[in-house]
């Protein structure tokens, strides 16, 4: 690990000011990703600003009937929170599908959003990587691509976002609260993460010095009609090859509203609002779900080794929508997929 200075922030504005004024400074909270990256020399901050003592660890009701989750709420506390389990079981399930219990105890809500890719080449400082070192080239293209993107990739980068929690937050249409050197703002979840384009070094739309302070969820609406289905190379404690967060609001027997986000397939959780709208008024069926999957995956392109993910994603979408429609969500400790 490189040498750096340490500042324990005593207010959000102090933390923001300290990072905004120093290009080499980084916020640190749970540290489960940043400290790991520092050990690999992928991250070499000149200064760490410790935000863990800031009062951002509450889960509060909002006037609109939703909840506002403080950026420092640990992933495990959020997943097991009574209100989250009752009103947003999709979020709880997605969190419990990710990482290990130890990591979830340390990792925070804000930090989960800011996880960096697990692309092998991003982690390997001996190889070129446009995300780690802009302009150096992409070693993944033409390399080992099992875990890489099938949607929204560019000639500069084919990395995927590794979070499970974010896939659920995308489907639930969360809003991210941010405080920065120029004040507060909110960012719809769909606009928080970005596609790589020709600037893959930017994972998200935050400016340097902007800090996530909370994640807000709208009022709950999907009842038991949801699921988080995660497929991976081992049955636990592995990143998704493909995951699906699905939530359905039924209108009689038909679909009133559907929200579907994919994980493990792109630089951000993948949604298509037009494809979702096409499910409105449709009677749930495998063939309707297959048509939807084809729409959601239109434009999907493999890199060779990961071509299988297109068909895997198609089947996972159909399964997940079936689970959501029947109100039988995937249980994360049960490994059989129905």
């Amino acid at each position: 690990m490189n040498r750096f200075s340490y500042l324990r922030a005593s207010s959000v504005s102090e933390a923001v000011e300290a990072v905004a004024g120093d290009p080499a400074a980084r916020f640190i909270a749970g540290g489960t990703n940043l400290v790991d990256l520092m050990k690999y020399d992928v991250e070499r901050p000149g200064r760490l600003v410790d935000i863990t003592r800031l009062p951002l660890n509450g889960i509060e009701k909002t006037p609109g009937g939703g909840v506002k989750i403080g950026a420092l709420v640990p992933n495990s506390d959020l997943a097991y929170d009574d209100r989250i389990r009752r009103d947003y079981p999709l979020l709880s399930s997605a969190i419990l599908a990710g990482a290990s219990a130890q990591l979830r105890n340390a990792a925070t809500t804000g930090g989960n959003l800011l996880q960096r890719t697990r692309c092998y080449y991003f982690y390997d400082v001996g190889t070129p990587c446009n995300k780690r070192e802009p302009g150096s080239g992409c070693s993944a293209i033409g390399g080992e691509t099992r875990i890489h993107a099938i949607l929204g990739a560019s000639d500069s980068c084919i990395a995927t976002h590794p979070s499970d929690m974010c896939v659920a937050l995308s489907a639930l249409e969360a809003v991210v609260h941010v405080q920065g050197p120029r004040g507060d703002r909110t960012i719809p979840f769909a606009d928080f993460h970005r596609l790589p384009g020709d600037q893959p070094e930017k994972d998200n739309t935050l400016e340097h010095g902007e800090m996530v302070t909370a994640v807000e969820l709208p009022a709950p609406r999907f009842g038991r009609h949801h699921t988080y289905l995660k497929l991976r190379d081992r049955l636990s404690y592995a990143f998704a090859l493909v995951s699906v967060a699905a939530a359905i609001e039924l209108d009689g027997d038909n679909i009133g509203k559907a929200r579907v986000a994919l994980g493990g397939v792109a630089h951000k959780p993948w949604r298509d609002a037009d494809a979702e709208a096409s499910l409105k008024g449709v009677l749930p069926s495998s063939s309707a779900f297959a048509d939807f999957a084809d729409r959601l995956l239109s434009g999907a392109r493999g890199q060779g080794e990961n071509d299988f993910k297109i068909e895997l994603a198609r089947r996972a979408i159909v399964r997940a929508l079936g689970q959501a429609a029947s109100g039988t969500p995937q249980v994360q400790s049960v490994k059989q997929v129905n």
């Binding site: 690990m1 490189n2 040498r3 750096f4 200075s5 340490y6 500042l7 324990r8 922030a9 005593s10 102090e14 640190i28 540290g31 489960t32 400290v35 790991d36 520092m38 050990k39 690999y40 200064r47 760490l48 410790d50 863990t52 495990s76 097991y80 419990l96 990482a99 290990s100 219990a101 130890q102 990591l103 105890n105 340390a106 636990s236 404690y237 994360q332 400790s333 049960v334 490994k335």
Partner: protein
Amino acid sequence: MAQAQAAATSVTLTVNGEPKTLDVAPWETLLDLLRERLRLTGAKKGCDQGQCGACTVLVDGRRVNSCLQLAVMRDGCEITTIEGLGGPDELHPMQAAFVKHDAFQCGYCTPGQICSAVGMIREGHAETSDEIRELMSGNLCRCGAYTNILDAVEEVLAERNAPKLEAAE
């Protein structure tokens, strides 16, 4: 009032019940502090990247990977390592169950497994063997002693739940 430090910072940790005040560098991990400074070598440096669980300790009662914790950030916390759970003269029930069920071969992952299992039972979300397997998945055992580890954890969990069941009758 915040303080910026490039070099050593004084931190006070309660380690296995004893207060310890040390000067730590910002880049010193909790695992290195425990092993190299306090000579508590129970927690193991397996992968040093949060992937194996051998370094698991309890921080304020919660199990975490000590290799990914910067010691300076844990100022004021209570740390419990395998040495603090029990020793040869008085084994913690989880330690005794691991011995009874032969829940290890080389033993390298064992301190992390035991701290993790104790943390898991405290968390109170494991009831079934499937749930134990899932919630212990952050602790790898390359000897493959998983089935015996599961037996040991199940026994301690059952003993812990037994009084509750009696009380409910």
